[in-house]
Amino acid sequence: MSASAKDSQSRSGQAIGQHILQVRNLQKTYPNGTRALRGVSFDVKRGEFLVVIGLSGSGKSTMLRCLNRLHHPTGGEVLYTDRQGQQLDLAKCQGDEILEVRRRIGMIFQHFNLIPRHSVLENVLYGSLGRTSSLKSILGMYSAEDQAKAMNFLKLVGIGEKAHFRAAQLSGGQQQRVAIARALTQSPDILLADEPVASLDPATCHVVMDYLKKVNQELGLTIICNLHFLSLVRQYATRVIALKGGELVYEGSPADIDEAWFSRIYGEGAKEVHIN
């Protein structure tokens, strides 16, 4: 599509394929009347590392949650194309279809959202809840395949040896890696990340971002990630969109965010903070 998108494609040096999501006029008005999204449209290509930026309250979290139906959009379309080329409007799904949408779209969160009292391995296994019956999961009867998968992903994020620790005993960065492993265990087609490093220190933050990058490049998983720090955006994003007041105000390559764009997204007088 746009020239900047092609730039980022060539720069990241990997094949970015066809559309996986086409978001059209997405709207979300909360029951209390807050209009968090006022008609947002953009495309996501398979294999992209798309970063969403914007001020606090601009609607980033709301948007991610409307994609995987943790929240329900009040208008617009989210057209998803699966690996077989089948198209489905995620915004129209109802009932159990919503669970299927969530299963296909993994998510990690700022506060990790693990079950602190349960073991790391159990937490990762919860990624398979969507395809395990209630009874079996409550009795702890996960399939051998799922167990192997969980252990594999735990090793992939470098904490296989912590499998039997309680999640609460791990550091923030390690917990976020457990969360990544849990999301991967879902075998998702897209991974959403809502400010995955906002509660981590700068060094740990890069470790986690590097794992996301690894997942993106090695497993070819499409990632949509909310971030606060522009230095991280430049380092990891293949493409950037910016929200302001529930509307899309920028779409393009991370390299193209200059002073003018910056003040348009964050307001006059805002200064960029560097994190390394």
């Binding site: 969530r102 296909r104 990790f112 693990l114 919860y126 809840l129 999961s137 409550i138």
Partner: protein
């Protein structure tokens, strides 16, 4: 929408304020009527007429309250129900001494009137306690209680064991039922759909009503329905325990963190799985802690229930007390006090260990 919220809540606040002021006014007015007219017993028993009079005063009070609200005079209702931001603004004003404000006068009058009525109603007569004959009679009774007849100790011990088991069974039967109910009675679990909210609301109402029926009343009902004895006592305690456990449990469910719920939901887990994996781990410890406390309370309650036919040591206590056998009563009280003390300490220890 933020401003819309404020309007809604201050509308509700105004209504509550009016009702509150109206009832306070009617209360004071009725008191004045009683003092001035000194109605006869016969007149006092005319419930319908008196209620209408009260109602009339409520209406007058409500009108007064609305008028005062319009004139921006602070009533007691305003002090209690006005939204904080309104109170904030009025802080720049001079601080008037309480007895010179309307709300202060309302408050002082209500307290004074209630205290006076209280004295009259309870027929307080300290001198009665000091009459020599009564005083020595009571002292003799204390003396007999303080020299317990230990001959009945074996029977008392057997009976208190019965009481402990009545309490245990009531708790054990109530726990699983209350466990399931607690999720259905939690707003954060049920509030998302209309049907869910309906179930939530219906259960809340039913259990609020059944909790307001004291276990003693349940015991009276069950000692007629079942036979007089431990079974009736246990049933009464069970009903009461289900209601209070479910209420307390559901409050724990309502205070769980959303993060883990979102985390589990995001994997495509179903509703039951979400509750089991994200909510239950957050509430088990408080559940256990409260359950132990409940068992401990149930032992104390089971003792009382014995008085109205609930079996156990309470029934034994009632029998000896009826025959004025004070040394035997003293022995039973000793046993009860010891067991209650042990249960109390035990339950405190368990709860401390769990935290």
């Amino acid at each position: 929408m933020a401003s819309a919220e404020v309007v809604v809540s201050s509308g509700g606040a105004k209504f509550r304020q009016t009702v509150f002021d109206a009832v306070v006014f009617a209360y004071l007015a009725i008191f004045a009527v009683v003092v001035v007219y000194r109605p006869s017993e016969e007149q006092m028993l005319k419930l319908g007429e008196n209620a209408s009079l009260f109602g009339a005063f409520v209406v007058i009070g409500a009108i007064l309250s609305v008028v005062l609200q319009h004139k921006n005079i602070k009533t007691l209702g305003w002090m209690i129900y006005a939204p904080p931001h309104l109170k904030q603004r009025s802080q720049d004003e001079l601080v008037a001494p309480m007895h010179k404000t309307l709300w202060g006068v309302q408050l002082i009058l209500s307290v004074v009137v209630t205290t006076v009525v209280g004295f009259v109603m309870t027929k307080i007569d300290v001198l009665q306690l000091l009459e020599a004959e009564r005083f020595w009679h009571a002292m003799r009774l204390f003396g007999e209680l303080a020299s317990p007849n230990l001959e009945i100790l074996p029977k008392a011990v057997l009976k208190i064991i019965e009481t402990i088991y009545i309490a245990f069974m009531a708790t054990a039967i109530a726990v699983p039922i209350a466990f399931v109910l607690s999720f259905l009675m939690a707003r954060n679990i049920m509030g998302s759909s209309r049907v869910g909210f309906g179930i939530y609301f219906a259960l809340r109402t039913i259990f609020n009503v059944s909790r307001s029926i004291e276990p003693v009343l349940w015991a009276i009902i069950f000692s007629i329905w079942a036979t007089f004895g431990p079974f009736a006592g246990m049933l009464a305690l069970t009903v009461h325990s289900i209601a209070s456990l479910a209420k307390q449990y559901s409050e724990y469910v309502e205070s769980v963190e959303d993060g883990p719920i979102e985390g589990i939901e995001s994997t495509g887990a179903g509703r039951l799985q979400t509750v089991w994996f994200a909510v239950v781990p957050q509430v088990v410890l408080p559940y256990i802690s409260y359950t132990v406390y409940r068992w401990d309370t149930n032992v104390r309650m089971a003792t009382i229930l014995g008085f109205v036919g609930g079996g156990g040591i309470g029934t034994m206590l009632m029998e000896y007390q009826g025959q004025a056998k004070w040394p035997e009563v003293g022995c039973i009280i000793l046993v009860i006090a010891t067991v209650v003390w042990i249960m109390d300490t035990f339950s405190a220890h368990v709860r401390a260990a769990i935290k």
